[in-house]
């Protein structure tokens, strides 16, 4: 029996582990927590015990550090030769010609419209709706119930939180975080953060 190692940390690791367990009767699904040190660095030694011939890895780290932590483990797994298949819930409604990249997670009741492209390492949680012809770049995090219109472009590492509605045709910049539950009807600049604890958006200038 082939193994399915669900590797990561936090609540999302649990969620992904249970999703894989329910979905695959033919695999030995195992949950592997990667510890983070006081400096937030991962202890990667766990990868030394996993071999691509014996199974596949799914990386499950949440949106921490702007999805960069998930990306970090994704890269490690890729370098070590794992296939990193995506997970699409049997209860999701994914248009047949939609393109889904490596290590993508699509939760139950999510709807992915026709001609959507969801790039590697992105997460679309339960009940989120992605309108037709939309494009999610790599390492995006879409929370449950988020509604995204058609022809929307979402930059790498962006985070869209529950309650957000993104109007059709909008461009969401890379690294943006749409955390205010509201309708977003204008393009969002790169790295703009709408966090409910703040009175105004947090903006980044220069590089």
């Amino acid at each position: 029996m082939k193994s399915r190692w669900v590797v990561g940390t936090g609540d999302y690791l649990d969620l992904a582990y249970h999703a894989w367990t329910q979905a695959s009767a033919t695999e030995d699904v195992q949950k592997i927590t990667v510890p983070q040190g006081a400096d937030y660095e991962f202890d990667l030694s766990i990868f030394d015990t996993l071999h691509p011939e014996l199974g596949d890895v799914f990386i499950a780290v949440d949106d921490r550090f702007g999805n960069f932590k998930r990306m970090e483990l994704f890269r490690v797994a890729l370098e070590r030769g794992f296939t990193l298949s995506s997970f699409v819930s049997a209860n999701a409604d994914v248009a047949s010609e939609a393109k889904i990249g490596k290590n993508v997670f699509i939760g139950p009741q999510a709807i992915i419209g026709h001609h959507c492209k969801i790039e590697y390492n992105s997460v679309v949680h339960a009940g989120a709706q992605i309108g037709a012809n939309s494009h999610l770049r790599a390492s995006v995090w879409i929370e449950p119930g988020v509604q995204i219109g058609s022809r929307v472009e979402i930059g790498t590492h962006a985070i869209i939180r529950t309650g957000a509605i993104v109007r059709s045709g909008i461009k969401v910049g890379k690294g943006a975080e749409l955390g205010w539950p509201q309708l977003y009807s204008a393009d969002i600049a790169d790295k703009t953060v709408y966090d409910t604890r703040y009175d105004e958006p947090i903006l980044v200038y220069g590089s």
């Binding site: 550090f65 702007g66 009175d199 958006p201 200038y205």
Partner: protein
């Protein structure tokens, strides 16, 4: 002993207006960062002491003008910052680096200004001073020398730090419901740290302070109330340096990505009177600029900039480093803001006058100067 600060100083609109004219339109104020206006035509806009201001780069020269078109008063630039020539969006009058009108479309045909009239059209210009990558502005028609307001050693240390600022800047604004003066009374009071910030700041830093026996408690009235005298009295209100002791900085990877400013493991603070606070809580790796903008007697905007020391090279996650530091600063600052909002909400015109102790001598000196300025015709 009793403070000089009657509740009216925090509540009265009339006093607020007087402060704006007698202090904020006279002194040097923080205006922004040069990294936001680094390129030709880059600009920032601000409202400073009620005056809309545009700070604009003209081929490398940075100038500050009143952001009001001389034709029919439209703002020339809009938004916090951007990149666009200084041209009015309403009827397209354009302005040059001296603030003079450069071009008026169809001037001869429809305006028929005389040459004299056209030449007299010039935007009001304000004095600017660059300190490292920080910009200061003075709205006065006869601005005092920068050195008259700030001590040279204060400027030198602040400049040295501000030269190490990175060009990637994170900025946001909080809307505080309190009078701007409460912030600075709080920032000059290290005694609150171990109580108000018991679980947050006090757990990682220690701010030793004392109440010297010889402390000047400003019991007597100010002696020299001439203009130079009042300016001189103001100078010690701005100070800064390594004020807090911190535990050794926890080694997180991003620290290696920046050129640390200095080598001292300390909590650095700079207070520039009246409304700028710079903090560096990790011995030179990153800086928070807090700019407190008075909006109304009970309303202050807190504009927060977060920057690291200069990056050795760009890296993709650098904005996330800024964001996690911003969130951390916010947890501590929220403790202050919540308290100041409580203080403001309890104030009324017959509220008890505050009682101050010896350790509050700096606040007492500032308050003597402030009340002198508010209650008399004397000027700075």
């Amino acid at each position: 002993m009793q403070s000089r600060m009657h509740p009216k100083y925090y509540l009265s609109q009339e006093i607020f207006d007087r402060e704006q004219i007698k202090i904020f339109r006279k002194v040097w104020l923080f205006a922004g960062l040069t990294s936001l206006v680094a390129e030709n035509n880059a600009f920032i806009t601000r409202k400073i002491a009620g005056i809309p201001v545009v700070i604009q780069n003209f081929k490398g020269e940075i100038k500050a003008f009143e952001n009001i078109c001389l034709h029919r008063s439209a703002p020339l630039q809009q938004g916090f910052c951007g990149r666009r020539a200084l041209v009015c969006p309403y009827h397209a009058w354009s302005y040059d680096a001296t603030g003079a009108v450069k071009n008026i479309p169809d001037c001869e045909a429809i305006y028929r200004f005389s040459a004299d009239e056209k030449q007299s059209l010039k935007l009001r210009e304000f004095a600017l001073k660059q300190v490292g990558s920080m910009l200061f502005i003075n709205l006065s028609t006869e601005p005092m020398a920068f050195e008259e307001q700030f001590k040279p050693e204060f400027v030198a240390l602040m400049e040295s730090a501000a030269q190490s600022f990175d060009t990637e800047v994170m900025v946001t604004t909080w809307h505080g419901k309190f009078n701007w003066k409460l912030v600075y009374e709080n920032l000059r009071d290290f005694n609150h740290v171990k109580f108000l910030h018991a679980k947050s700041l006090a757990a990682i830093a220690d701010f030793p302070f004392e109440a010297p026996i010889q402390a000047d408690l400003a019991l007597t009235p100010l002696e020299d109330i001439s203009i130079p005298g009042l300016r001189k009295a103001m100078r010690p209100f701005s100070y800064g340096g390594p004020e807090g002791k911190i535990d050794a900085v926890r080694p997180v990877p991003w620290l290696n990505m920046v050129e640390r400013w200095g080598t001292e493991d300390a909590y650095f603070n700079w207070l520039a009177y009246p409304n700028l606070h710079i903090a560096c809580g990790n011995g030179g790796y990153s800086f928070t600029i807090e700019h407190h903008i008075p909006i109304a007697p009970g309303q202050t905007d807190i504009e927060i900039y977060f920057i690291t020391a200069k990056k050795k090279q760009p890296y993709a996650a650098s904005y996330q480093v800024l964001l996690s530091n911003m969130h951390y600063s916010k947890t501590i600052l929220t403790e202050d803001i919540d308290m100041l909002e409580q203080v403001q909400s309890a104030l009324h015109i017959d509220a008890p006058i505050p009682t101050q102790g010896a350790y509050e001598s700096t606040n007492r000196q500032i308050e003597r100067w402030y009340t002198e300025l508010m209650e008399t015709e004397h000027e700075i």
